[in-house]
């Protein structure tokens, strides 16, 4: 089996290597990829959309259809994880035995099914796999998470002028929630951003994107041609395209953020949403 795999990989590689003899050299400014569509984008993007970052302009404006359905793919991947893994209700093989830690002394209590749950702020529920009481990690992440989220918002909003945009900012925002879930525990993270919230945000992101396109249709322009939104924003057509890119990036950021969080919740807890990583 290994020999067959090695032989087929080598054969495939050799055929491709012979093919590269016809390819343009690395960094050739006159290569076919650089001489047909892209000069039009580079020369006109700034004048037509008022977005200095050409990648953002092409991503959200010229090739908006492409990005709309990429966002839909992310949404449906999150839905697939939910439908495959999520199990509602209690685990019948391991009934709901709950572990609590008494914070002042560090003693761990085990409550059997049907037992009375201690109702006092001195008790903290912990996961079945014993985790040491870790003040430094909890406090440091608590301090750093607001700055991560602020940076994520900056990346979304400043995507016109610097590298960044909805995809990157959304992933950073999602990573901050995942960091919270890892450093505290899954139940606290679910308390901050629940499952229904992430599901609704994920769908709302795709809806904002598609809705912006449909609004353009209603205003008499083509689908996803943001210059039709100019009367709504009260600016000229070029500025309207710039603002339309921002609206779309916010939708993408929302969808990607909640998709990442949703996939993590289901994967880390095997769909039970009780004990995480």
């Amino acid at each position: 089996m290994k020999l067959v795999a090695l032989a087929s990989a080598l054969l495939c590689g050799t055929i491709l290597l012979f093919g590269t003899a016809e390819f343009p050299d690395f960094g050739d400014p006159d290569s076919p990829a650089a001489s047909h569509v892209s000069p039009r984008y580079i020369e006109e993007a700034m004048a037509e959309t008022s977005a200095p970052n050409i990648v953002t302009a092409v991503l959200a404006d010229y090739r908006g259809f492409d990005t709309l359905f990429e966002t839909a793919v992310v949404f449906s991947a999150a839905m697939a994880c939910f439908f495959l893994l999520r199990i509602f209700g209690e685990d019948e093989r391991r009934p709901s035995e709950k572990l609590y830690r008494h914070l002042p002394t560090g003693i761990t209590l085990r409550i059997d099914p049907g037992g009375k749950v201690p109702d006092s702020p001195e008790f903290e529920r912990i996961d079945g796999i014993w985790i040491p009481h870790d003040v430094i990690v909890k406090t440091t992440t608590r301090l750093i998470i607001p700055f991560i989220q602020l940076f994520g918002l900056y990346v979304i909003a400043h995507g016109h002028h610097s590298p960044g945009g909805g995809f990157q900012g959304g992933v950073i925002l999602g990573a901050s929630v995942i960091l919270y879930a890892i450093s505290q525990n899954l139940r606290q993270a679910l308390g901050r951003m629940g499952e229904a919230v992430s599901a609704v945000f994920c769908a709302a992101g795709v809806f904002i994107y598609a809705g912006a396109g449909a609004l353009c249709l209603l205003m008499g322009a083509n689908f996803l041609d943001y210059s039709g939104l100019a009367p709504l924003f009260g600016v000229d057509a070029i500025q309207a395209r710039s603002l339309g890119i921002l609206v779309v990036e916010i939708g993408v950021g929302l969808a990607v953020m909640s998709a990442m969080v949703w996939i993590y919740y289901n994967l880390a807890s095997m769909g039970r949403h009780q004990e995480g990583l």
């Binding site: 590689g13 690395f26 960094g27 050739d28 892209s38 700034m46 990648v55 990005t67």
Partner: protein, 139 residues
């Protein structure tokens, strides 16, 4: 000999892409562990992304695709010259491909977790053994 060196240096990006693609393909075929197969699939994906990104590069002092002094100076009268900036189109295509690749990675890992829950192992041959034992000899 010098011709060969020119050929290698001029096209080293294709060599790297083909090497990484071969690593990914080998892992997808030969490794029996499902998680290793998923890693192989991701290496294959990044190899193809590397190929696209390297076709976008332009020599001769071309800058990154963000137009300098875009705002505050009005729209420049002469406009941007295409030779001054790297080709942005492959970047756009690959940017979305990366985000989709993490979504597909999530689905693939979900399926692997589900398979482990069902059969108690991630090894392909052991899974086949369990299925054979359950169905009474029929694979």
């Amino acid at each position: 000999m010098s011709e060969f060196i020119d050929f290698f240096v001029g096209k080293y990006n294709y060599w790297a892409f083909i090497l990484l693609m071969m690593i990914g393909l080998y892992a997808m075929i030969a490794k029996k562990n499902l998680a290793k197969k998923i890693i192989g699939m991701n290496i294959f994906q990044t190899a193809i992304i590397l190929f696209y990104i390297s076709t976008a590069a332009k020599g001769g002092g071309a800058s990154i695709p963000i137009i300098a002094h875009g705002h505050g100076h009005g729209l420049s009268e002469h406009g941007a010259r295409a030779a001054d900036y790297i080709n942005p189109l492959p970047h756009v295509l690959m940017l979305t491909a990366i985000v989709v690749s993490v979504a597909t990675l999530g689905v693939a890992l979900t399926l692997a977790v589900k398979v482990y829950h069902q059969y108690g192992t991630l090894e392909e041959d052991e899974i086949a053994d369990r299925i054979r034992a359950q169905t009474g000899g029929e694979p």
